[in-house]
Amino acid sequence: MTIDIKTLKVEPRRQTYANIARRFGTDKPASRYEEATLDVQATANFHYKPLWGADHWHFDERRTAVKMQDWYALRDPRQYYYATYNIARANQYQATERNFDFVEKRGLLAVMEPAWRGTVEFYLLPLRHMEWGANMNAADMCDKGYGTAVTAPCMFAAGDRLAMAQVIGRIGLALDGNSGSSLDRAKEYWMTAPEWQELRRLTEDTLVVKDWFEQFVAQHLAIDGIHYPLVYGRFDAEGQRVGGAGVSMLTEFMSEWSAEHAKWADAVIKTAAAESAENKALISGWFATWSRRAADAFRPLAVRVLGEQSGPAAVEEALGNLAARARKLGLDV
């Protein structure tokens, strides 16, 4: 007797959710990213305006001067939603942990020249306060922003910034033998050292920017566009010559992250600028103001780390690269 195994093909009644199907015009299987992102945020039938800002609704397109026909056009090219974001970051965190183990086991921080060790304490550790400021900014963009496509990655960015502040804190502890004294000193630098005051002012000024898209451009394009190439590129390269390889390993997450983060920030800004001439003019104006300010604020720190000659040149180079990047995004620079 032969047994014939038959397969029965059951077509699902629907391939995806109705809101996704409406958006694409066909009922085809959508990716998890699309299903977790598109049209998720509430848009209507709010009962009361919030007490903390009664001039707008909870979700209100008018919290920025930028206008979009469809706020869900501001997609994340990394396609992060809760699961993909966490899987990616968990892997990166494991690598970071391994790097800490490696550096600790081989005593790599001890082989740094003492003068450079002081410089690292001076330029790197206070950055945890700046990362915290960036965390607040990203959370604020998520709060005031419109559309899950852009607000969700803002919250992810906020989480990343906190993580980086913690990594910097752990580097401090690794440097001072877990006493925390280097972090106390770093706080003092942040509050009083003249090289840090412009950066602190810059951070504090971005905290109170009302327009969330301006905040986005200021933080994610202008400030980060100078901060990361300068600190984890130029400063780090300077350290290589004096035994700073351990620091490079411990800050590897930052360089990796900034490349990925830039992809997202670029995509959002490029799409918004391409939407209309008004958007483009607004964003270009914000970029001009904040990139100039960021470069000015980083210059004293660069002079301290790289010297009178190379410091300003490194900042100009970072600013030049950033301007070229902004031109590619369609901004008038």
Binding site: T7, L8, K9, V10, P29, S31, R32, D76, P77, R78, Q79
Partner: protein, 90 residues
């Protein structure tokens, strides 16, 4: 006699962008949907391009990841850093 190459992939969230990339890059490819799997046939040759898949999933993609979704295939394999292709070489 026409010589058909084919590739069969799981019908999953991971494989769907690959299937989409294949149908876009290989004009004339015929897609058959079966329960849980998708079989793609084409006369002569068939290519999976790294950049087409990457542009759909928004991250780096190694053509070797294809094997995680692969059920079956027919044809001689040519696997490179930038593509995975099938053809009958004789």
């Amino acid at each position: 006699m026409p010589r058909i190459v084919s590739i069969t992939l799981q019908n999953t969230d991971t494989a769907r962008p690959i299937i989409e990339a294949i149908t876009e890059d290989n004009p004339g490819a015929v897609v058959h949907s079966f329960p849980g799997i998708v079989k793609i046939d084409r006369e002569g040759s068939l290519i999976v391009k790294r950049e087409s898949v990457e542009s759909r999933i928004g991250r780096d993609w190694d053509p070797q990841e294809l094997h995680l979704s692969l059920v079956s295939m027919a044809g001689n394999v040519d696997e490179e850093d930038d593509y995975f292709s099938l053809a009958w070489s004789n």
